[in-house]
């Protein structure tokens, strides 16, 4: 029975990590449903972007309050993971404070974890107040009703509770150390939990051990649960921000890709020697590519990675000129819809032995309306605002391409504009011969 806790711990750890790996595999499978796109260029610049934007949080601090608070939680998250490593090793080996023999450095580490934990509690509280009391505009938009709102708060609660458990554990441990309890080595500095310790005065050693152990177990089990909550929440950005900033757009923001499938057809049309009725050179050639996107499989995999990376902060939406003037378009909703539809497609595949079976739904109309797509001014404010290099605009344009080239479903005024270009080389119905009249007017 002596090894029972170790065994229980090892099982919990294996389950926690096992489920997480399973979900990561699903994530990769879903992202791979996207089309191939060449992002192998300019690796040095890509690493630099990742280091600057994801690791260095450069775009977070554009909004100083949220940025500073976020950096605290982010640094807390990374640094406190060193402590998690100790906890995991203690759990497996049945040791207590395995790293304590490093002496003074250990005091410094534990002390700084405590201060960070406290700062995280403060930051998380500020975040909660911003969402629920101040009700910042971007957190109460229509797409944030229901689950997204709960999800956002849930993450804050989990983080809050984890930090409280960590400090409670330390406080009980500190009290036990002072009482000279067996097994509780004198180690660590407790700049924050020393203020909790007085609450434990007068408690017996067994009670304190019970408190310390309970907090220890709940803390690590909480972390494993949180790890598995990620996939079901908006919180995947803590992992995906890194690949997402690496694969982010390197070209000037104004440069949209030229569709290669179109280039081939246009070249054929403009070639005076081409025979329009000729059979395809290769009879086994794939069917002509669909132009634009009506569903998630028509997007490229970086756009799908974008969707999973979005943490629904809404900076894009708050900078969007259409959204600011009351239009339905919200770039954040474009990303959330893409992710939700992708999840739906993934579940569909699981239910059908790995093959997607048409469910009569698609991203267009069932998730994203035409009204939203046509409200975009392609101004790139959303792209500029995103702290993790997400490009909602590229999805909007891809879906417009489908509407125009596959369905001829542009608004009437735009159809007029386009026929003007076709007929007289200008978006207005003027004669090409009058192009130079301005010189003499």
């Amino acid at each position: 029975m002596e090894y029972l806790p170790n065994i229980v711990f090892a099982i919990a750890l294996a389950l926690g990590i096992g489920f997480f790996v399973r979900n990561v595999k699903k994530l990769i499978r879903n992202i791979k449903l996207g089309k191939k796109v060449d992002v192998g260029d300019n690796k040095p610049q890509r690493w630099k972007n990742m280091a600057k934007i994801a690791l260095g949080q450069t775009k977070m601090v554009v909004r100083p309050i949220a940025g500073l608070m976020h950096i605290i939680v982010y640094v807390g998250f990374i640094i406190i993971n060193i402590e998690v490593l100790e906890i995991i090793l203690d759990g497996i080996l049945g040791t207590h404070r395995l790293f304590s023999p490093i002496g003074q450095l250990y005091d410094v580490l534990i002390g700084s974890f405590e201060i960070l934990a406290f700062l995280v509690i403060v930051a998380v509280t500020v975040f909660w107040v911003r969402r629920n009391i101040i009700k910042l505009q971007r957190f109460i938009k229509p797409e944030m009703k229901g689950w997204p709102k709960k999800d956002g708060n849930m993450i804050l609660y989990i983080e809050f509770v984890l930090m409280v458990l960590f400090l409670t554990m330390n406080a009980a441990d500190f009290q036990l150390q002072q009482m000279g309890a067996d097994h509780y080595v004198q180690a660590g500095a407790f700049p924050i939990s020393q203020f909790i310790t007085p609450l434990f005065e007068g408690l017996s050693v067994p009670t304190l051990i019970f408190i310390e152990r309970t907090a220890w177990w709940l803390h690590i089990l909480g972390i494993l649960t949180f790890l598995n909550y990620l996939y079901y929440s908006k919180h995947l950005h803590i992992l995906l921000a890194f690949p997402n900033t690496y694969y982010g757009k390197l070209r000037p923001q104004g440069q949209f890709n030229n569709l290669e499938s179109v280039t081939n057809e246009v070249k054929l049309m403009m070639d005076p020697n081409a025979d329009p009725f000729a059979a395809p050179a290769d009879p086994n050639a794939a069917a002509p590519e669909k132009f634009g996107a009506s569903d998630v499989m028509d997007l490229n995999w970086v756009q799908l990675l974008n969707a999973y990376t979005c943490t629904e902060c809404g900076r894009c939406t708050s900078e969007c000129p259409a959204n600011q003037t009351g239009k339905k378009l919200s770039p954040r909703k474009i990303m959330m819809d893409t992710r939700d539809r992708l999840e739906e497609v993934g579940k569909n595949m699981e239910a059908n032995k790995g093959e997607f079976v048409s469910d009569g739904k698609q991203l267009l109309d069932d998730y994203i309306s035409r009204e939203e797509l046509w409200a975009c001014t392609t101004c790139n404010a959303c792209v500029q605002a995103c702290p993790v290099s997400i490009d909602p605009l590229s999805i909007i344009v891809e879906m417009r391409r489908y509407l125009v080239m596959e369905q001829s479903a542009a608004p009437m005024e735009l159809n007029n504009m386009m026929s003007n270009i076709e007929n007289n080389g200008a978006p207005w119905p003027y004669n090409q011969m009058d192009r130079l009249n301005w010189v003499n007017e």
């Binding site: 104004g254 046509w374 001014t377 125009v404 608004p411 270009i421 011969m433 301005w438």
Partner: protein, 261 residues
């Protein structure tokens, strides 16, 4: 008409067996839109003053296809692009200047992939160059002390990171440059981009240009400077919506300079 402009077409250059220093891509707005035509004329006035040996394509110029591309019509865009590229490459064009940030963006970034690689500059960049080289000098009297706020066109600013050239040029008029709260990277769109210029806006509670002119009016300007014919239209309409057309004028950077020589 105040002054006879000297404008030569590429055909005329070809006939003389010469190459121009630069091709002025007038764009559809600059050719046909009554307001934008004034901008083309102001820019040419400056080119004439600086003795720039420039050409236009005239009747051979056709829409870049930019607006079709933003609307989702990649076919039409590439048709236009390939026709224009054939023409530009035929004339062996090396350098292009344009007053339209949308043409600027597509010629500079999207044409190379289709076989048309040129050095493309926005007219504010070219004017800065002419001023720096001393080919163009300003008297700096007309706008001395006037409050001018510059509205960044999305396709010049965010899209291509050109923020300084228009501002440097404006400073040379001796005007007092004032910035809107949202400027450069965070500038708000005028509402015309993405083919919105050619359609009614979707249902909402305000027009984007009215919101953007509000930003501009908060700086208490005498003049709103633009660097894009579409922004110019939107800001002019916005000023009317705010009933400030008596107090505030909307002028292109080229017009401000043309009035300062």
């Amino acid at each position: 008409m105040d002054e006879q402009l000297k404008v030569k077409t590429m055909q005329e250059f070809m006939a003389e067996g010469k190459q121009p220093e630069i091709l002025f891509w007038v764009g559809s707005a600059g050719s046909y839109d009554d307001r934008a035509k004034k901008i083309s004329r102001a820019f040419v006035k400056l080119l004439n003053r600086a003795n720039v040996d420039f050409a236009v394509l005239g009747q051979e110029e056709s829409s870049t296809g930019d607006v079709a591309k933003r609307a989702g019509n990649e076919f039409l865009f590439q048709m236009q692009a390939m026709m224009n590229i054939e023409l530009l490459n035929g004339y062996e064009i090396k350098r292009i200047v344009t007053c339209d940030p949308h043409s600027f963006n597509t010629l500079k970034n999207e044409y190379p992939g289709l076989g048309g690689t040129y050095e493309v500059v926005h007219h504010t960049q070219y004017l800065k160059e002419l001023l720096d080289q001393g080919r163009l000098t300003l008297k700096g009297e007309t706008y001395k002390g006037k409050r001018i706020t510059f509205h960044d066109p999305c396709y010049l600013g965010r899209a291509n990171s050109v923020y300084e050239a228009p501002r440097e040029v404006l400073t040379k008029t001796n005007a007092a440059l004032v910035e809107m709260k949202r400027h450069k990277k965070t500038a708000l769109c005028c509402g015309a981009g993405g083919a919105q210029m050619f359609k009614e806006p979707e249902k909402g509670d305000m027009d984007i240009n009215v919101l953007r002119t509000k930003d501009a009016l908060e700086t208490n300007p005498d003049i709103i400077a633009t660097g894009c014919p579409y922004c110019n239209t939107m800001m002019t309409d916005g000023i009317k919506a705010h009933e400030k057309e008596e107090r505030v004028t909307v002028l292109d950077v080229a017009e401000l300079l043309a009035n300062s020589i």
